[in-house]
């Protein structure tokens, strides 16, 4: 384990690999004075192109919460970042299993009695599924994917736009999967199992009926909640929707600071109120 103390931020950061047989890369952000609250947060990073796009926001939130006394565990799912696993083997089920591994690790190492979870984009489905047998655990969702099919449709559209400026003939997803066993989504191989995630595995279905406080954060400079999110809000009395004016392109990552200070602040405030 590698450890550093940041006295300016008021946090201690401990980085390690955990889990077996395949290992997950994780970072614990802890209050420097050791006087933590009884609630900790597990941050489930998003995957594919979203992984890098969201990274800075997750670190900022983790450091801000740790400085305020809330210990945080961030981790890379298998097939992403520094963790084990091939990119092409990533599925919704591996993501769910990784959330469970991270929750167990957090319970063991964060020194808290209660946990909350933050998940972004596709990882929201996995977090919701993993928490189904843990009613009451607060769940924050950043730009959650509500339907896996819509998510991949958007990815394919982004790829089509990208390919306008490069050579090579277009290829239908089915043909590509048959030819090479994966879909090349802007440089990330998406295996058939992930691409063909069952249509019924929607956010509403994965959330189930277990009551829990849910914060749903929409990253968009608009005054209205998107219809797909409004449906989630309407279906559950325990969902709070927040609009944060930061347009995130997600599939295309520009080399600039990820916007989203409002999302970080809103989530920090919500977690601290738990």
């Amino acid at each position: 384990m590698a450890r550093r103390i940041d006295s300016n931020l008021g946090v201690v950061e401990e980085v390690e690999f955990f889990g077996a047989p395949e290992r997950l890369f994780g970072c614990r952000h802890l209050p420097a004075d050791g006087a933590g609250r009884d609630l900790g947060l597990v941050i489930c990073s998003p995957v594919l192109c979203d992984f890098g796009a969201n990274y800075r926001r997750e670190v900022a939130l983790a450091r801000g919460l740790a400085a305020a006394g809330v210990p945080v565990l961030r981790y890379h799912p298998r097939g992403c970042g520094h963790s084990d696993g091939a990119r092409v083997d990533l599925t919704l089920d591996t993501l769910v299993a990784d959330v469970a591994t991270a929750l167990a690790h957090a319970e063991e190492r964060l020194g808290v009695t209660r946990l909350a979870v933050l998940a972004t984009r596709l990882s929201s489905l996995a977090a919701a599924a993993a928490l189904r047998d843990r009613p009451g655990v607060p769940l924050a969702l950043w730009e959650p994917v509500t339907k896996p099919r819509s998510y991949f449709r958007a990815g394919l559209r982004a790829r089509a736009v990208h390919r306008l400026s490069s050579t090579g003939p277009p290829e239908e997803p089915e043909a590509e999967l048959a030819r090479q066993g994966y879909l090349d989504l802007l440089g990330i191989p998406v295996g058939r199992a992930l691409y063909e995630t069952a249509a019924e595995r929607t956010l509403a279905a994965e959330l189930g009926d277990a009551p829990r406080p849910v914060l749903l954060v929409q990253f968009e400079d608009t005054a209205a909640v998107r219809s797909e999110y409004q449906a989630v809000v309407d279906a559950r009395p325990d969902v709070t929707a927040r609009l944060c004016p930061c347009d995130e392109s997600w599939w295309f990552i520009p080399d600039r600071a990820a916007p989203g200070d409002e999302a970080v602040a809103a989530t920090r405030e919500w977690i601290l109120a738990r």
Binding site: E13, E16, F17, R23, Y55, G81, H82, S83, I188, P189
Partner: protein
């Protein structure tokens, strides 16, 4: 035998810029005494690299006997320190790279710097500024001109600067730590320009080629450091590289691998595989 996270551990590297989070890959077989040190491009993503390629490259080179170290620059990901809002090619992160060199030296490993874009320029500058410390260089899509400097210093109209003299703006700058730092950088840049001598351009290629890049390249050539340039056929930087005649200047110890697609951004799995294959083959041939 293939390296996995079982062969890896995190480490914080002490640097003058902050404590940098690195991930070390130990070779699962016999070590060859070399350490592949990865320097990624600009941006805000972690040291797993663009499309996770630094993880793949580290584990593949570990299979050849290399130790490998990938780390995040100061102010990025889990690293400490304060990051820059704008990354500039006249302010390369040599201090960060030196922390990695120190890590390798403490373990009696000879570092091979593997840099991408901004990281390639940082790798080249580090090899030039720390003579004798670097065993090899892999430079993927190095820009051969200092575009941030050009954009920031030459294209802004005079009225832009006139507006900045308003008292309200001056007060706002003085109140903000970030803006005070930016002002300091600009001031140092202007002092640097004012202090430069006018040099003859003959023999230094086109006007737009970075003199800094050429000076670093010359220093690397003088040291005889084996160097691999990696480009994609569709990379605009490759056209610049060819126009500027860089390979001729880089001498006999340099070679270039050109793979299909774009290496800058690595937005195709086939291009990633081809680039990693080229690096693997070069490493195997250079240190067989």
């Amino acid at each position: 035998m293939t390296a996995t996270a079982v062969d890896e551990y995190p480490v914080f590297l002490p640097a003058s810029t902050g404590e940098l989070l690195g991930v070390v890959t130990e070779p699962p077989g016999r070590p060859n005494g070399l350490a592949a040190v990865f320097l990624r491009g600009a941006g805000w993503r972690p040291s797993s690299g663009p499309r996770r390629t630094q993880v793949s490259a580290a584990r593949r080179l570990a299979d050849q006997g290399f130790h490998a170290l990938r780390f995040s620059y100061h102010g990025l990901a889990e690293s400490g320190g304060t990051g820059d809002e704008i990354v500039r090619l006249d302010r390369l992160y040599v201090a960060d790279a030196r922390a990695a060199l120190d890590w390798a030296a403490e373990r009696d490993l000879r570092p091979v710097l593997v840099g991408n874009c901004f990281g390639a320029r940082t790798a080249l500058a580090t090899a030039a500024k720390v003579p004798g410390a670097v065993a090899g260089l892999v430079l993927s899509v190095p820009p051969v001109f200092d575009f941030e400097v050009v954009r920031r210093r030459d294209r802004r109209p005079l009225r832009h600067f006139a507006r900045r003299l308003r008292p309200s703006h001056v007060l706002a700058v003085l109140r903000s730590r970030t803006r005070r730092r930016a002002l300091g950088r600009t001031g140092r840049g202007l002092v640097d320009i004012a202090g430069r001598k006018v040099r003859p351009r003959s023999g230094d290629g086109p006007e737009w080629v970075s003199r800094r890049f050429l000076a670093h390249l010359d220093a690397v050539v003088d040291q005889g450091i084996p160097t691999l340039f990696v480009f994609g056929e569709e990379d605009r930087y490759y056209e610049d590289f060819q126009h500027a005649g860089i390979l001729d200047r880089a001498g006999l110890q340099a070679s270039v691998a050109v793979v299909p697609g774009r290496v800058h951004g690595l937005t195709s799995v086939a291009t990633q595989d081809a680039a990693l294959d080229a690096i693997d083959a070069w490493a195997a041939a250079t240190w067989r």
